[in-house]
């Protein structure tokens, strides 16, 4: 491989870091700035904007709502995607390209179109404009993020032999799925769940159009604040980042714990 000159290499890394990190640092700084418009750095620092955000009557409601929608989307997504993908991989491998194609479709449909279409089709109770419809829309919208990692994990293991071994030992399909397949594709399940959680947590268009004021989510509150005061919006963004980071850390911790027995056994050897 061709080696780039170290200076150029350093520059490229620096540019990349700046591109990724600077907006985040700016948002964090802005959320604790008293005034920051004509100076290079803020004129003073304060936690007032966080106070305002926390005190807002809708703060905890929207945060809770967003958690409900995100976690529900992850669970429903897992419930649909894992058995379906497993089934296609083992029983109808010929349908895999079709499934791949289906799972890309949500990328091709703009959220606005998806939301308006769903609102028109499901115009009757209990679905009309309900959180159920929002969760269902989010599941569809985030499906590719759940499907890809799970499908890749299934391809990385010998699904057929594992399934047949378990079958010959007397296990039924549910037992095979829960005790054999799921643990072996755990990395895929975790990264899929993380991607879906993050995507749905930050989702604005669907929530705004489907439930709107009747079931406000965190991004809706954030947008409302953007219109009032950018600094409060920045504080909310920081909170949103923090939630996403905590979710990642929690998932990494869980997956790390799953690997522990192996290390213990290795140590015992």
């Amino acid at each position: 491989m061709k080696q780039r000159p170290p200076v150029l290499q350093g520059l490229l890394v620096a540019l990349f870091v700046a591109y990724m990190i600077l907006p985040i640092i700016a948002t964090y700084t802005f959320s604790i700035a008293t005034k920051w418009d004509i100076t290079l750095m803020p004129e003073g620092y304060t936690l007032e904007w966080y106070q305002t955000a926390f005190d807002h009557p809708y703060f905890s409601i929207t945060l809770t709502n967003s958690f409900i929608v995100s976690i529900a989307a992850v669970l429903v997504g897992l419930l649909f995607i894992v058995p379906t993908t497993y089934w296609v991989h083992t029983r109808v491998p010929a349908a895999k390209p079709l499934l791949d194609l289906l799972m890309i479709l949500p990328f091709g449909i703009p959220a606005v179109v998806l939301a308006l279409a769903l609102i028109r089709v499901y115009a009757f109770p209990p679905f009309a404009r309900s959180p159920f419809l929002l969760i269902s829309a989010c599941v569809i919208f985030s499906m590719p993020f759940m499907y890809r990692p799970i499908s890749n994990s299934l391809m990385a293991i010998d699904v057929h032999t594992l399934t047949e071994s378990a079958l010959s030992l007397g296990a039924n399909t549910l037992q095979i799925l829960i005790r054999v397949i799921a643990p072996n594709i755990l990395p895929g399940i975790l990264s899929g769940s993380l991607l879906v959680f993050a995507t749905v947590f930050a989702e604005f268009t669907l929530a705004n159009l489907i439930t709107g004021a009747s079931f406000k989510t965190f991004p809706i509150l954030l947008v409302e604040f953007t219109r009032r005061d950018g600094r409060i919006a920045a504080a909310l963004s920081v909170i949103s980042f923090t939630v996403a980071w905590f979710a990642s850390i929690a998932i990494l911790w869980v997956s790390g714990r799953g690997r522990k027995p192996t290390e213990e056994a290795l140590g015992a050897r």
Partner: protein, 352 residues
């Protein structure tokens, strides 16, 4: 008495018949090998017994009951796969206990059975290890313990040794046979390795292109191959093309060979005379008191350890003959030699 019986079983994959009209019975406690080249239908046959493939015709019965349409998880057939079939997320204990746990056995019984099975395969101290911490041979022994833990009615082995290296392979096949005899479990073993099949089986079924070529004891298969395919597939056999002269003589080129001609073969019909290399004696000078003497030139000398194999050109036909390595006689390339073999070492079959 037949314990496991396949009655005229056929399996098609699209237009191709993987197994055609397979009819065979396995006695209780017997060790039967399905032997043949890849694509001969042996694995498909095994998978039909396990229930992973559904026969297109015929029936499979086990202990008197028809199991043709019983799903694989209710057949009570333990299966060992070629490789990588242990559950990677579970340690050895959990792997062996799996079949008992999913079928709801009491905990105490499970623990006892796991210990018993690990002792049986002589890996008592590995219970806490994970599959990736075991060697290939150990993994296959655990796979065997796992399959046996459920006390299966039939043990099915699908080329369990082919992913292992030669030394482990030979040791483990002895181990498999020991365990099989100890438990007296009816076993069907699939392999493409004829030496493996002959060394551990009570009966061998040689398959080719979905059909049974011959079924019999290892000795029968080796000494009395019924078809040219079996003769060529099992061990090494020289095939001399000739013409029947009478009930005791076949003309091979200019030479008259004395050989027992089966009554089904008419005079002047084209036949093949089979002779195993170990039945052929090699002489540096023309023998006077021997039957079936052929004259030729040494082409190749291959040292194989206990024996040395000579390739001799007999007027355009290559014949191989084995010589004990302890034999002092020294032969060189292009040396002129005489080969001889007794009439009862010959087997005559139609050329087809």
């Amino acid at each position: 008495m037949a314990y496991l019986e396949l009655k005229n079983v056929s399996k098609l994959f699209g237009p191709v018949a993987a197994v055609k009209d397979f009819h065979f019975a396995v006695a209780k406690g017997a060790f039967v090998s399905l032997l043949g080249p890849s694509g001969c239908g042996k694995t498909t046959t095994l998978r039909m017994i396990a229930g992973f493939e559904m026969p297109d015709a015929g029936a499979i019965t086990l202990d008197g009951t028809d199991i043709t349409s019983v799903p694989p998880n209710r057949r009570g057939t333990g299966m060992v796969f070629q490789a990588y079939a242990l559950f990677p997320n579970m340690n050895v204990r959990d792997n062996v206990a799996f079949g008992l746990e999913v079928t709801g056995h009491p905990k105490q019984e499970i623990e006892g059975r796991v210990r018993e099975m690990l002792a049986l395969v002589r890996l008592d101290d590995t219970a806490k290890r994970f599959p990736h911490q075991l060697s290939g041979g150990q993994q296959q022994r655990i796979a065997l313990a796992r399959a046996l833990a459920i006390r299966p009615r039939v043990l099915l082995l699908d080329e369990p040794l082919s992913a292992l290296d030669a030394v482990v392979r030979v040791a483990l096949r002895g181990e498999i046979r020991r365990i099989q005899l100890e438990l007296g479990i009816t076993t069907v073993y699939v392999t493409h390795d004829q030496e493996e099949a002959l060394s551990i089986s009570d009966r061998v079924v040689v398959m080719n292109q979905g059909l049974i070529e011959q079924a019999g004891t290892p000795e029968e298969i080796y000494r009395q191959p019924k078809t040219r395919f079996v003769a060529a597939f099992i061990g090494t056999a020289n095939q001399l093309n000739g013409v029947v002269v009478d009930r005791t003589q076949v003309r091979f080129g200019e030479t008259m060979l004395r050989a027992p001609v089966p009554s089904g073969l008419k005079e002047s019909s084209k036949v093949v005379v089979l002779v195993r290399p170990e039945s052929i004696a090699i002489h540096a000078a023309a023998p006077t008191d021997a039957h079936n003497v052929l004259e030729g030139t040494i082409q190749t000398i291959t040292f194989l350890g206990p024996i040395t194999r000579l390739g001799v050109d007999i007027g355009g036909t290559r014949v191989v003959a084995d010589m004990a390595a302890s034999s002092r006689a020294a032969f060189t390339h292009t040396q002129h030699v005489w080969l001889s073999f007794p009439p009862d070492a010959c087997q005559v079959m139609a050329e087809k």
